[in-house]
Amino acid sequence: MTTASGNPSRAPASFSPYIPNTDSDRAAMLAEIGVEQFEDLIQDIPSEKRFPKLRLRPAAAELDLVAEIAKMAAQDQHAGEYACFLGAGAYRHFIPAVIKRLVYRGEFATSYTPYQPEVAQGTLQTAFEFQTMVALLLGMEVANAGMYDGPTAFAEGALMACRVTRRGKLAALATVSRRLLEVVRAYTQPQGINIEVLSDGETEVRGDVAALLIQSPNGLGVIEDMARWSKAAHSSGALAVASVNPTSMALFKSPGECDVDIATAEGQALGVSPSFGGPYVGLFGCKGEHVRQMPGRIVGRTTDNRGNVGYVLTLQTREQHIRRERATSNICTSTQLIGLSVTAYLATMGKHGLREVAELCYHKAHYAAEQIYRIPGYSLPVPGAFFHEFVVGCPVKPRSINERLLERGIIGGLDVSDRVENGMLLCVTEMNPKEQIDSLVSALREIGAGLR
């Protein structure tokens, strides 16, 4: 016991566990360099701008910091303690224990972009597996090694369609989520590309449009008829660019089966924690004929000079480090580690496991919808088949319903009242046991009754 000598966690700040140089190391190195003091090395920094006084807290000891950050984390109401029915772009799914174990391996986590393929075959082969799984899942011929997230992948898909068709306008279905379109706008507007949102009932795509942007399930949870929309796009010489839910791919038709040209998805649902919005990974696939216009990193199979199969980054002449201002994108990452989670998840769930997850989501969401529909004052105002998200019409503003749900330990759905009157988009996955759904239903009933 060392308590007698004071607080043992207050370590002297003169050293950091992450910096090994001792005073004598530094002295020896400065002597070798041939300077008397460190400052001699930074004479190029204007002297009046040197050594600013920073207002920062002193170094913390790990023991203290862990307690402090844990306390911060404890302020958050999380899905471990609350029943959560939020989706709309980020989903809670079961993650088998093996995924995290594999992803945290330092050999994966602390390596970088595989510019030296001889010492990065682990990263490269994993990326090749990722491309394979994403292509299979989306039903596309090829896929890249990963984008930042689903919305940016969709936006890059829209830009790619402009390059392929050499057209400078986009059309979007009115059912694409607002947030998704906001991101597409932030990527396209600076280049003078405008998006025209199709009005209700409009089924034709104009002749000067590069792509029709489709989301399925759409912003209100409904499965779109992607095949029909692809046909509409193609009849005007435009491409069909889709954003889909990856879990739904085990149940519903893939973009590839619907003749979509560029398919994207938010990969987070596949083995990645919601983590307050990131890091996630964007899935991106397309028809083989367009591969040279695809953004992002791509890994290809080749052989080494002994004839053994190996993997390398390929088609790099599309990329910023070679083509600079004429690159297909400025992206310089594949979000590899999150891609690894997705790959390990899909391998672990496998052909049957993913289908089971999708069916569990489907049945539970439909059970919830049916129960809520029976509560007086609530409705299901949006027609159409859905997967695991659906809009509930509430008797009052969803915001006030959500406040009351939170008091009962339930994180309610997303407020979509800007699209549907008093609409709340609820999501139910395999992580919501029947008891949770039942308590949501009775809470909604109670809240509704209390209003009358």
Partner: protein, 495 residues
């Protein structure tokens, strides 16, 4: 690495390992009544995915991991990437349930801990760089650049100065700079470097005019040198009515030594995966917060965290350039960077950069007799760029030197970048390496320089003990083979 030889490594792909009937996860039966599935025409007939047992998966990925060099296993002096140690504590903090299990659409009141962490991170990044207004949402350095450029664009348009269409970019810049500028709708004009590796200030002054929107500068530059005329540069751009953007890729050289804002920069991004120790992940995820001076705060992307009435809230800046990604940024990465900054603290900031600079100059000093220094031996900042042009004269390239390092368990430096240095080898040791590791590296580099003279063939055939020897990149690009095919059939992508 030496335990593996190509013949002993079993590298079949997952789909080739798949055996019908194998499972590695058992999902529970539905606890609710089954709902009828929608019409057959909407449903997928078959989804091909592998069928494997859990151990097969663990062993496969573990084996793959062992084919990598990484910071945890090897010295990794990859220049401009700041491959410093990634503290394990950071990962642990990011996986606390209150961090990892919160949903991005939750109401602000239910995620006050997370928002406070983001707010504090905004504050400390602003303090460290002298650019006080921060948006954490950009998901990588390149997206941070894009965000910063959109801010510049938004600012000029707001001031009805929309004719400013030119982004000035040095010839030594990273490729993402011009790529981001053209995505943001700018016309790229290249600024030459002078013989000392600095920006050619006279040329810059001629180029800066009423069409200049922004000048993008990496500081220290991509050749690892600090621009001695930096104050003159920022002043010249401001006088022309433009903004100055700092690519913060090399921020590891400046912590506690100087601040971008104090030098006259208006906008910057910071790569948290470089300077602030978050894992590079084999190529992401990173995070590239964008930082601006107060005058530009209204143009930042959405959202930023504000403190209103003692509550933290996600808000949209008044004239925001918009939403660049689905949510609020790489939150898990932000937690890691925050943890690191708190561990280092005030004293630690300066220690990071001082030791990074000492380590780089030590390597430079020890190797200056063996490899050329393209800019005449000026002191470097946190990284040193050598040129293997002397070795090239005897028929050995920078690539050969790099590949030979692999035989000695060292990850090669960045090669052939920046483009203005022939046969460039960019070494960034970082502050987390010991003197012993640096001495070992120096010894190997000296040995390789001797080999280049005496037995060049050993360099040209390197590496020798890796799972793959040199790979045929040309044929990979000519005939793209981009995914598994049944029975190894030819790839579909043949444009």
């Amino acid at each position: 690495m030496s335990q593996f030889t190509p013949s002993t490594v079993e590298r079949r792909l997952l789909m080739d390992r798949s055996v019908p009937g194998r499972r590695s996860v058992r999902m529970p039966a539905p606890d609710v009544p089954r709902a009828p599935l929608p019409a057959e025409s909407m449903l997928r007939k078959d989804l091909q995915l592998p069928e494997l047992s859990e151990l097969e998966i663990v062993r496969y990925f573990t084996l793959l991991s062992q084919l990598n060099f990484s910071i945890d296993t090897n010295f990794y002096p990859l220049g401009s990437c700041t491959m410093k140690y990634n503290p394990k504590l950071n990962d642990e903090m990011a996986s606390l349930p209150g961090m990892a299990e919160i949903h991005p659409h939750q109401p602000d009141s239910s995620v006050q801990g997370a928002l406070r962490l983001m707010y504090e991170l905004q504050e400390v990044l602003g303090e460290i760089t002298g650019l006080p207004c921060v948006c954490l949402s950009p998901l990588a350095g390149a997206q941070g650049e894009y965000a910063g450029l959109l801010v510049a664009r938004g600012y000029h348009r707001y001031k009805r100065d929309g004719d400013r269409k030119v982004a000035l970019i040095p010839d030594s810049a990273h490729g993402t700079n011009p790529a981001s500028a053209s995505m943001a709708g700018f016309e790229v004009v290249t600024v030459p470097s002078d013989r000392q590796g600095n920006v050619d200030v006279e040329a810059l002054k001629k180029l800066a005019d009423r069409r200049t929107a922004v000048f993008m500068l990496t500081l220290p530059s991509t050749v690892g040198l600090f621009e001695p005329r930096i104050l003159e540069i920022t002043r010249a751009i401001h006088e022309a009515g433009g903004l100055v953007y700092a690519d913060g890729a090399n921020l590891n050289a400046l912590l506690g030594l100087t601040r971008l804002g104090d030098l006259g920069f208006d906008i910057a991004h910071s790569n948290l995966h470089k300077t602030f120790s978050t894992p590079h992940g084999g190529g992401g995820p990173g995070a590239g917060p964008v930082l601006v001076k107060a005058e530009l705060a209204d143009f930042l992307p959405t959202p930023v965290v504000a403190r209103v009435d003692n509550e933290y809230r996600l808000v949209a800046p008044k004239n925001s350039v918009g939403r660049l990604s689905g949510f609020h940024g790489s939150f898990g990465i932000l937690v890691r960077a925050y943890t690191y900054i708190r561990m280092m603290g005030l004293e630690g900031m300066r220690q990071i950069s001082e030791n990074a600079i000492i380590n780089a100059n030590y390597v430079q000093s020890k190797l200056k007799a063996d490899y050329d220094l393209p800019f005449g031996g000026r002191y470097s900042m946190h990284e040193v760029v050598f040129s293997a042009r002397r070795q090239k004269a005897v028929g050995v390239s920078a690539l050969d030197v790099a590949k030979r390092l692999i035989d000695h368990g060292v990850h090669p430096p960045t090669m052939y970048f920046p483009l203005i240095v022939p046969e460039a080898l960019m070494v960034e040791p970082t502050e987390t390496e010991t003197k012993e590791t640096l001495d070992g590296f120096i010894e190997v580099m000296k040995k390789i320089a001797r080999e280049a003279e005496e037995k060049p063939e050993v360099l040209k055939s390197a590496p020798h003990d890796t799972p793959n020897t040199r790979l045929d990149e040309a044929s990979a690009a000519r005939k793209p083979y981009l995914r598994w095919q049944r029975n190894g059939a030819a790839a579909p992508a043949q444009p």
